[in-house]
């Protein structure tokens, strides 16, 4: 391949390029011209951009290039990667135990022996591992995979170049599943590794899906996970992510969403894990009358860093977007929220609102919030807000005056703060699981 235009500055930057060069012939879909070209184009984009750093506006608060000095070797799924006991243990988690079509990914690879693929197919869904889907990509897949504008993001480009695992899922017109689909990432206990997964999820007109992704475990990883979503007219997706990666991990999660007309997208992300995490959601309204409701909470302590960056593009009239994010930051943790709303010319009657709130539990914790509105239409309602504060001493006193010990009273107030966002999740069982996960972070009982 041609030499990179850019002079790479860190070992990790160079390592990703080298990894691609070495792995290219054996990457899934290598025999397919379209896939090979897609990967080539992506690695060229990466070679131009390098890893994002603080002088790239969208990465202002998260200097990945300086944080990521070394790249871990890429994991290639081994069939013995996860023991029965580990799997059984993982299912005791409240979220994992919820009734769902479970798709278990070990080191990113869809494990048919641990997944309910037959059930999902019987329910009418089309489901493939990414690897299988790339052998001979279906025409509909080619219209989605790597076609979002955000493909120019260095992290997404790197994902496209190196994607080895993930799932491809499609619901045909009018289909609805009786249960959510839960992508459970389990990675066993190996050496630190890099895992690159790509999911493509399409719900056609009038179809609806609940899609959950959970990332948990004790293995230190550098994960780059992208989920591309297309929602057809009058279709709907409720999308949840639980990120509880091992301490010391890097989690880069990107959701790229396109909505048709009168479609609905609801999303919630809970982040408590990883040393450094970046959650990107780029959503574009491409049909009129659609709505989006994206919310989440991050609970971080020690020196954890968690960045949530949203880009909502109102390209057409009469769409509604709502975002609510809550950050709880202790010790020297740092939370970042960037929310950008772009209203295209002609996207009249756009209604977009976002809110980011942080609760700082320590003097050294930091929250950076950057809302951006780019509005090119005149008949719109857009707003944003951001607050940052400490626990209200008057509320704390009220609870304590009722006999609730201070530690419990604080936990109750923190849970209430986070709960305002969790309440937006419609699925009761998942709402409970999210509440339990925040309680676990706080070290208090949850019932």
């Amino acid at each position: 391949m041609e030499l990179p235009v850019k002079q790479f500055q860190t070992r990790a930057e160079q390592a990703f390029l080298d990894a691609f060069t070495a792995a290219e012939p054996t990457l899934p879909g290598a025999g397919n011209k379209w896939v090979a070209a897609l990967r080539r184009q992506a690695i060229d984009t990466y070679a131009l951009l390098g890893l994002p750093h603080r002088r790239v506006e969208a990465w202002k608060y998260t200097d990945l290039r300086s944080q990521l000095t070394d790249a871990y070797p890429f994991a290639r799924a081994r069939s013995a990667g996860l023991s029965e006991a580990e799997f059984a243990n993982a299912l005791t988690d409240r979220a994992a135990a919820l009734a769902a079509y479970r798709l278990v990914l070990v080191e990113g690879e869809l494990r048919s022996d641990l997944s309910d693929i037959a059930g999902l197919q019987a329910a009418g869904a089309e489901i493939h591992s990414l690897g299988d889907a790339l052998q001979k990509p279906a025409p509909w897949l080619k219209e989605v995979l790597g076609q979002a504008r955000a493909s120019s993001d260095a992290i997404v480009a790197l994902n496209t170049a190196l994607m080895t695992g993930g799932v491809v899922l499609r619901l045909a017109k009018g289909q609805t599943l009786d249960r959510p689909v839960h992508l459970i990432h389990l990675d066993g206990e190996g050496e630190p590794a890099g895992i690159v997964t790509r999911n493509v999820v399409v719900v056609e007109a009038g179809a609806s899906l609940m899609l959950w992704e959970s990332y948990a475990g004790d293995r230190v990883l550098q994960r780059n996970a992208v989920t591309e979503i297309v929602i057809g007219d009058k279709g709907a997706i409720d999308h949840i992510k639980l990120q509880r990666e091992a301490a010391g991990s890097l989690h880069l999660g990107t959701w790229l969403v396109r909505l048709g007309a009168d479609a609905r997208y609801g999303a919630f992300q809970l982040s408590t894990g990883a040393a450094l995490s970046r959650n990107q959601i780029n959503a574009a309204f491409e049909g009129e009358g659609s709505s989006l409701n994206v919310s989440g909470a991050l609970l971080m302590r020690d020196r954890q860093h968690c960045d949530t960056t949203l880009l909502i593009e109102h390209k057409v009239p009469r769409c509604t977007s709502r975002e609510l994010f809550k950050a709880v930051l202790d010790n020297e943790a740092r939370g970042v929220f960037q929310g950008k709303i772009i209203v295209s010319p002609g996207a009249q009657k756009t209604d977009g609102k976002q809110m980011a709130q942080a609760l700082l539990l320590s003097e050294s914790a930091e929250f950076d919030s950057k809302p951006e509105l780019e509005i090119f239409a005149d008949d719109v309602v857009c707003g944003h807000g951001s607050t940052s504060g400490q626990i209200d001493e008057d509320l704390l006193f009220y609870l304590e005056a009722r006999g609730i010990p201070e530690v419990e009273a604080r936990a109750l107030l923190i849970q209430a703060f986070v709960g305002e966002a969790i309440e937006l999740v419609e699925h009761e069982g998942m709402r409970d699981a999210l509440g339990a996960a925040s309680a676990a972070w706080l070290g208090v009982a949850y019932d």
């Binding site: 001493e393 008057d394 509320l395 006193f397 009220y398 609870l399 304590e400 005056a401 009722r402 006999g403 609730i404 010990p405 201070e406 419990e408 009273a409 109750l412 107030l413 849970q415 209430a416 703060f417 986070v418 709960g419 305002e420 309440e423």
Partner: protein, 249 residues
Amino acid sequence: MLKINNLHVNVDGREILKGLDLTLPAGEVHAIMGPNGSGKSTLAYVLAGKGGYEVTAGSVTWKDQDLLAMGPSARAVAGVFLAFQYPMEIPGVATMTFLRTAVNAVRKARGQAELSTPDFLRLVREKAKGLKIDPAMLKRPLNMGFSGGEKKRNEILQMALLEPSLCVLDETDSGLDIDAVRIVAEGVNALRSKERSMLVITHYQRLLDYIVPDRVHVLSDGRVARSGGPELALELEQSGYAEFGGEAA
């Protein structure tokens, strides 16, 4: 018995209570009246243990325990209950969750068994009924969207559930119409007992028509200026607080 001896309290460096003495025997109801700024609410907060109130001299004992040495939750466990003048609104905490957490925290600390969910629900329903509290209200976040009357009834509900031995009611009648005052007062009267002492803080005599006190103390400039029987409240209704350095009642 509650014994307050020569209590001096500063708030933001300014002395508000200036040598307050008060004795409240078990089973009695005493009213604290006085003009605005005389230190009534400060007394209530100091008894409950709110931060920001600096005790510079004096002592407060409840059943021979040094209240001032205890944190707010320990005081609640010891039997102190403050019905707030302005109950806090806490979004995200369901009223029922709050009530159960409080009841079980207090029970646990008192060495009693925690209540099971069905037992707790039964207890709340029974107490709520007496206070004409709509069960739907208890599903809402704590005090959010409650009317003034609902908030005060919710305070009395908490009082009934936590079974305190020393109740401090801080202007529980403020902002209530006469019907709401009556409901709240009935709730309070139902809790009167030989073991339970109450300190009813009020600016107006009106509440004392319904909760008839054993004694009335008039606070003025951070001290008890005068004490007497229930007739003292009626007298103040006529004469106002002028002689105590306040405007007419």
